[in-house]
Amino acid sequence: MDAARDPGLQPERTALAWRRTIMSAIVADILIWRGWFHALEAPAGSGPVDGGLFAAGHSAQVVGMGLCAVVACVTTLVLVVCAVARIRMLHAGVGVLEHSAHIAVPALMVRSASAAIVALALAAMGALALGF
């Protein structure tokens, strides 16, 4: 039995909270991608396009929604990078909990996560406005 381990499993719970956050981001990401694929299949007004993704003459709407999907993907990647780094830190810190400064979350990670959600929100707003 590891005497240094927190009896409330706080680092483990925090690592799981980061995992849940990634999963939520992926759900939002997939929905934005779904909107783009639908726009590719049936561009407004002009009927279905043969060749889907690689067809010539994409409307500004389809290009814009593709841009939103790429932004959403990048924000999810930023979140995943933050989460993976944080989970590694937490697991490494399980045995050295008395050094509080080493297990505290770096401000950069919190800021990046927050900024990634704002960017994801902008992508969602763009996708909503373009899908109209």
Partner: protein, 118 residues
């Protein structure tokens, strides 16, 4: 990694408190993500819920709230840790009341829209 100046003031909080603060931040972030996913999902999966202009406006409002919530959750995390570092009372936040009102309003609006849908 450069830490903000306030992170060098006072004493480093006990890891239990700083981890709890971090988990609270993540919980608010997931709330923001749920609002974003909900906004896009309603727009795509329930196109008949309201006239298109109303539907897109409602979904945009939800997405804007999600963006604001992401910023507010960072500020709340920073303020809580500053209070812990300097051993002062944790700041009172309108965030919980605000989000309760917003989520209740959203639920009522969408419930009415579902009920009056032709």
């Amino acid at each position: 990694m450069r830490e903000p100046a306030w992170r060098r003031t006072g004493k480093t909080p006990d890891y239990r408190f700083s981890l709890a603060n971090e988990r609270t931040f993540l919980a608010w972030v997931r709330t923001a993500l749920a609002l974003l996913a909900g906004a896009v999902a309603i727009d795509q999966l329930a196109p008949e819920i309201a006239p298109p202009v109303v539907r897109v406006l409602l979904c945009l409002v939800l997405a804007v709230i999600g963006a604001v919530l992401a910023v507010v959750s960072y500020r709340r995390w920073a303020h809580q840790e500053q209070a812990m570092r300097n051993d002062v009372e944790l700041p009172h936040s309108w965030l919980m009341l605000g989000m309760t009102v917003i989520v209740s309003l959203a639920a009522i609006v969408f419930a009415v829209l579902i009920l009056v849908r032709p």
